[in-house]
């Protein structure tokens, strides 16, 4: 009897790969960036399908393919998930303490910096005639 194609393995791996490579897309939206649930959902779905595929490949090898590709895809999945977890749950959280940053109730340090047209903008300019200001420090585009 011809053995059947083990689709669960491949579909599972496609989900895992999608969970990994869609990170730059989902990071664009605060809802999926603050906690990467969309990526984790893809990883989880892929993982379940892979386990199903592996169970078929090793449980019923006379019916299903996948005894060779199954373990290879499973190892690749573990690598992708480890790398993702390290990046998102460790690397992104390596932040300086900023213990000396001005605190609530303190006066914000004065500054004058050029804007995108090269025109100097001082904190005093931002505050004159306004009711306050939001300073957003960001990593930049380089």
């Amino acid at each position: 009897m011809k053995r059947r194609w083990n689709w669960a393995l491949w579909l599972g791996f496609i989900f895992v790969a999608a969970g990994f490579i869609t990170y730059p897309f989902f990071v664009l939206f605060p809802v999926t960036r603050d906690f990467p649930w969309a990526n984790l959902l893809l990883f989880g779905t892929g993982g379940i399908l892979l386990v199903l595929g592996l169970a078929r490949a090793f449980g019923r090898p006379q019916v299903y393919h996948g005894k060779i590709f199954g373990p290879i895809l499973a190892v690749l999945t573990l690598l992708a998930f480890t790398l993702f977890g390290y990046g998102v749950f460790y690397e992104l959280r390596q932040m300086p303490a900023s213990a000396g940053a001005p605190r609530v109730g303190e006066k914000a340090p004065e500054f004058s910096l050029p804007d995108q047209n090269g025109k100097p903008v001082a904190l005093a300019d931002l505050l004159s005639g306004s009711r306050g200001a939001v300073l957003i420090f960001y990593r930049g585009h380089w």
Binding site: R93, M95, P96, P102, K107, E110, L127, I136, H141
Partner: protein, 105 residues
Amino acid sequence: MRSFQQRLPEFEARGIRVVGISVDPPDVNERQSQKLGYTFPLLSDPNAKVIRRYDVLHPGAGPKGADIARPAEFLLDSNGIIHWVNLTGNIAVRARPEQVLEALN
């Protein structure tokens, strides 16, 4: 920053100015403003002098180990007194405009 641009009218209605500060030079900021349609100023601090003064430097986190700013947001009142501050523990998680608007109320 995109979300702050989207909600900018609400800040303007409350008389609050919004500015971005990074190590990017003015020409990069000009390009970014054009590309993303920012109408609030992007200020340039290439030597991270002001970034250091606010202790929001992330040493070596930029390209080729350059010092850059970490994400941080300060809300000041009209006297320059800090009213609200957000120092994130995760580079990917930054203040949302609604948090700042809420701090204003």
